[in-house]
């Protein structure tokens, strides 16, 4: 691990001299700010930090971080970080991606990154729209969405990123949002502490092409009704005055009124429970509709599993122990030779 230099780096020092070029009011600004705030708290040296992105609005991020960085090509950041981490396991590697980059063009790479469990922090900026290409629907856009490429409404059924990632055996999945910086900060801290691929989906408002996609979860009037902030070991309670709870009826989550239920009856969130994390990931209806479940935020699931790069290093060490440090002359010579004199 990198040497700890507590507080030696400030958020300001993580800014670059490059003008930030996201649209005024974009949710990306808030994420950038939180990342710059959180990183100095991690005690990692700046030169050991690398930000790698794909293509899209979010993927400009590395240019605004005064660390090592690469703005790669569309969808392929998971593969780039895999190679980097394979050869430099001690670096702190952060991958910045969006819903189009990670779930459409790069969908294949993402699921393989997750199953291999490289020790990477992935920040998926989900704005449910293509911003950089000016407003086409994305793989997380809702069915029937009217965009420039879908004037009669989108026919695509959207991805549920939480279910997708858990389905790919992600060892860490969390959800946060741009308009809740305090929550985002906590989630980012936890993500960075997790050893393995830490998948963080961040709801991010595109105020130009998809304004208000998540307002139900962020506006004062609706937020408490439509969101569920989960915490490990705590019962699932939500509502304006915490008047609702979630109970599991077998495998089925049920909303109960706290007037007629006690906290002991409720579903107690357990980050280590894969089965229940999968149920939680399926809280994906529109919470504004009658009887629908609220949208969960927080850490859904966290599991310790060996990281690919550590196994790879170990294999190289084992090979050296078993066969000795490679002898090039012996390799070039092979087993069967003949001499002409």
């Amino acid at each position: 691990m990198a040497e700890v230099l507590n507080g030696a780096m400030t958020a300001k020092e993580l800014e670059t001299d490059q003008e930030v070029r996201w649209c005024p009011g974009c949710g990306d600004y808030s994420i950038l700010k939180q990342v710059q705030k959180v990183i100095p708290e991690l005690g990692i040296k700046r030169e050991d930090i690398v930000f790698i992105s794909g293509i899209g609005c979010s993927s400009r991020f590395p240019y605004y971080m005064n660390t090592y960085g690469m703005h790669s090509i569309h969808g392929r950041a998971p593969a780039v970080v895999s190679g980097l981490k394979s050869t430099n396991p001690d670096l702190s590697v952060w991958m910045i991606t969006g819903d189009g980059d990670a779930l459409s063009i790069g969908g294949n790479h993402l699921i393989h990154l997750l199953r291999r469990n490289f020790d990477i922090n992935v920040l998926l900026f989900n704005n449910q729209i293509y911003g950089l290409t000016k407003g086409q629907y994305s793989p997380t856009s809702e069915e029937g969405k009217h965009t420039k490429s879908t004037p009669m409404g989108s026919l695509d059924h959207p991805f549920n990123p939480a279910a997708l990632c858990l389905g790919a055996d992600s060892t860490f999945f969390a959800r946060s949002m741009d308009r809740d910086p305090v929550h985002m900060r906590d989630v980012l801290l936890r993500a960075s502490q997790h050893k393995g691929t830490s998948m963080v989906e961040i709801y991010q408002n595109c105020n130009v092409f998809n304004d208000g996609a998540f307002f139900g979860f962020t506006d004062k009037e609706t937020k408490k009704q439509q969101t569920l902030f989960v915490e490990h070991g705590k019962p699932m309670i939500f509502g304006e005055n915490n008047e609702f709870g979630i109970k599991l009826d077998g495998f089925t989550p049920v909303i109960v009124n706290m007037d007629s239920a006690s906290a002991d009856d409720l579903w107690i969130h357990d980050e280590k429970d894969r089965g229940k994390a999968n149920i939680l990931a399926r809280f994906y209806g529109n919470p504004a509709s009658e009887g629908e479940l609220p949208r969960p935020f927080g850490i859904f699931y966290s599991e310790d599993r060996a990281c690919y790069e550590d196994l790879l290093v170990k294999q190289v060490e084992t090979a050296k122990e078993k066969f000795g440090d490679g002898d090039l002359n012996a390799l070039l010579r092979g087993k069967n030779t003949w001499t002409i004199s």
Binding site: T16, Q18, K45, R46, E47, D48, V50, I52, P62, Y63, M65, N66, T67, Y68, G69, M70, H71, S72, I73, R76, P78, A79, V80, V81, S82, G83, L84, K85, S86, T87, N88, D90, L91, N108, H109, H112, L312, Q315, V316, T318, A319, K320, K322, F323, G324, D325, G326, L328, N329, L331, L332, R333, G334, N336, T337, W338, T339, I340, S341
Partner: protein, 619 residues
């Protein structure tokens, strides 16, 4: 009566049978035995794409051709002296390549009614019996029956017993061509070291085949090929894909870099991955990626981190890697891309050879995207050129293609291998904190060759950002400035052009330095061209052979070499790709000899074309 021994200078033998008959193994064993004996040789394995193609059919025939001699050998041979066939389909598919009067060793058990039907022999009569082979020396042997008889007390099942029948054939062939069984016996011990019963069974059948030749009066003549007069030194037999893998490992060792190999399985490149995966004790990290794009992108990630990033594929996979290769070019990071070419386009002919990806390598990307390209001429030369690709990539901080092909990949030849000390060493030019200017680091600051330094994450003070978007020279910051883009396109072009200063001058392989016809080759056409030009020069014709290994940029004296001849003939296993490059680059009206049949040129084809050209020049 024992057979008489006739000494001959060279033999071309073709083993053919079902793709499950162990033909490749039989051929390889006979090859290694001859190599260890001291013959010069060249091989050509030829197999269907299907792992177990329908048995007994023409489509399922797998072949392995070996040309060995006491003289210098350049090709696997145009025509065969001997044909070893496991069934009638194998005979039908290959009889045309057997010389009149040649030898046919046939497993008669593969000539029964069922095999005749499968091979679509309309008469229903075995060619061994209908007199059609009267111009050849035929040795019919009941291989299956004799093998079963030999192992009847072994306790093995019929299926296992039948799998050893190739050893009977090999034993007979070793006897007929005057070679001993030692190497094969050692090989069997190693291969089946955990199954001693199989070592015993295979060895027994091998010996039975050998003694069958010795004790029966099947053949009255045996053939012996003396050792070849090759340059002094120690040799081993080497195949192309193996040589490529060793070249990469050697380059990593001689540069002090860690080798990272990102690859997705594809025919005929996968053996490079298999070979490298065996050598993790050299610090080699192999990564079987989820697809071709991830394979190249992971190699770029490794290069960004200071490793020697290498990816490999064949044509279809290279097509997928195109965008990422452009990224490596923009990032100005070392990357080696190995293309073991096969028949195209699309899926094409996966197990057959072709050279039709040259233009893809040189030009196949969006934008003005020059990438250096080198190519190997022979199986063992894959070692040199894979090494060279690494050297150029690291010294010039740029992606470099190394082109091999299916024929080189699976072909073999004797290799006078180098020692570690004989190989050049080279270094990555890594940036250090001393490169900071007023506390600022300029990632795209360049040396006199326009090469930037390699700044590795983890190095204090050199934090910087790179990307595929056009960048300002020096700082690497995003720039859409029109003049800057022009400047950067020019700079990248010049930077790659500068590689020409760092590669050997073009030489003449064979023949005079000036003359009437220059036969210019690249890649695996080397052997056929050299053999043809050798014959022609000995016949007194004004013909020379040059073989270009550095295809982009060309060596500095390349034009001068070409202009020293009245005519330039370019034989290629494509429809004229190098010819197009030569014509466009130098306005030289090069003539093509083009063939895309999935099989290499023969010496005869090249000779005929040269003679035709000489004839025209006289008129």
């Amino acid at each position: 009566m024992s057979a008489t021994l006739e000494t001959t200078k060279e033999i071309t033998i073709l083993f053919a049978g079902d793709s499950g008959d162990g033909i490749q193994l039989t051929g390889t064993q006979f090859t290694d035995t001859n190599a260890l004996f001291g013959n010069d040789l060249s091989t050509f394995p030829n197999f269907p794409a299907e792992i177990r193609a329908p048995q007994g059919t023409l489509a399922g025939v797998s072949g392995f051709q070996l040309h060995f001699g006491s003289i210098e050998i350049f090709t696997p041979g145009d025509e065969c002296d001997a044909l070893v066939v496991m069934n009638v389909a194998a005979l039908k598919a290959n009889l045309k390549s057997l010389k009149k009067g040649g030898i046919i060793i046939a497993n008669t058990d593969g000539f029964d009614a069922k095999n005749l039907r499968l091979a679509k022999v309309e008469s229903g009569v075995s060619p061994l019996e209908d007199g059609s082979l009267s111009n050849y020396k035929v040795f019919p042997i009941e291989v299956t029956k004799l093998t079963r008889e030999c192992l009847k007390d072994s306790g093995l099942g019929t299926k296992d017993i039948d799998r050893t029948k190739n050893m009977f054939v090999l034993g007979f062939v070793l006897w007929m061509f005057d070679r001993n069984m030692d190497h094969t016996v050692d090989f069997l011990k190693e291969k089946f070291k955990k199954k001693p019963e199989l070592v015993e069974a295979n060895t027994k059948v091998l010996k039975a085949g050998y003694h069958y030749g010795d004790t029966t009066e099947t053949a009255t003549t045996r053939f012996s090929v003396d050792k070849a007069e090759m340059p002094k030194g120690t040799y081993r037999n080497m195949m192309g894909n193996q040589a490529t893998a060793l070249g990469l490992i050697a380059a990593a060792r001689r540069s002090g870099l860690e080798l990272f190999y990102g690859s997705y399985p594809i025919t005929p490149a996968s053996d490079v991955l298999h070979e490298l995966a065996k050598h993790k004790n050299f610090g080699v990290k192999t990564f079987q990626a989820e697809d071709e794009i991830a394979a190249v992108a992971s190699a770029i990630g490794a290069s960004f981190g200071g490793a020697l990033g290498v990816t490999a594929s064949s044509g279809p996979g290279i097509a997928l890697k195109g965008e990422a290769i452009g990224l490596a070019l923009m990032l100005e990071l070392p990357l080696v891309i190995v293309n073991v070419q096969r028949g195209g386009p699309s899926t094409g002919l996966p197990t057959k050879t072709e050279q039709a990806d040259l233009l893809q390598a040189v030009y196949g990307r969006n934008g003005e995207a020059p990438v250096a390209v080198v190519a190997a001429a022979t199986p063992a030369d894959c070692f040199n050129m894979a090494f060279e690709a690494c050297r150029l990539a690291v010294q010039h901080m740029t992606p470099v293609f190394f082109l091999s092909d299916g024929y080189l990949a699976n072909g073999a030849e004797p290799w006078k291998f180098p020692t570690e000390d004989e190989l050049p060493s080279f270094k990555g030019n890594f940036a250090t904190p001393s490169d900071l200017k007023d506390g600022e680091y300029l990632p795209y600051e360049r040396d006199e060759n326009l090469v930037r330094k390699w700044a590795i994450p983890g190095t204090l003070g050199l934090e910087h950002r790179v990307g595929g978007i056009e960048k300002q020279d020096g700082t690497g910051n995003i720039s859409y400035d029109p003049d800057n883009h022009q400047h950067m396109v020019n700079t990248r072009a010049q930077k790659v052009a500068n590689i020409a200063k760092n590669v050997p001058l073009q030489d003449i392989e064979l023949g005079a330095k000036t003359g009437k016809v220059l036969v210019l080759g690249w890649g695996s056409t080397y052997g056929a061209i050299k053999a043809a030009v050798k014959d022609l020069t000995e016949e007194g014709h004004s013909v020379s052979h040059a073989h270009v290994r550095y295809l982009f940029p060309f060596p500095q004296n390349f034009e001068e070499v070409l202009r020293s001849f009245d005519t330039v003939l370019i034989p290629e296993m494509n429809m004229g790709q190098l010819r197009m490059m030569i014509r466009s680059e130098f306005l030289i009206p090069a003539v093509g000899l083009n063939k895309v049949k999935g099989i290499p040129f023969t010496k005869g084809e090249i000779k005929d074309k040269v003679l035709e050209l000489l004839d025209q020049l006289i008129k």
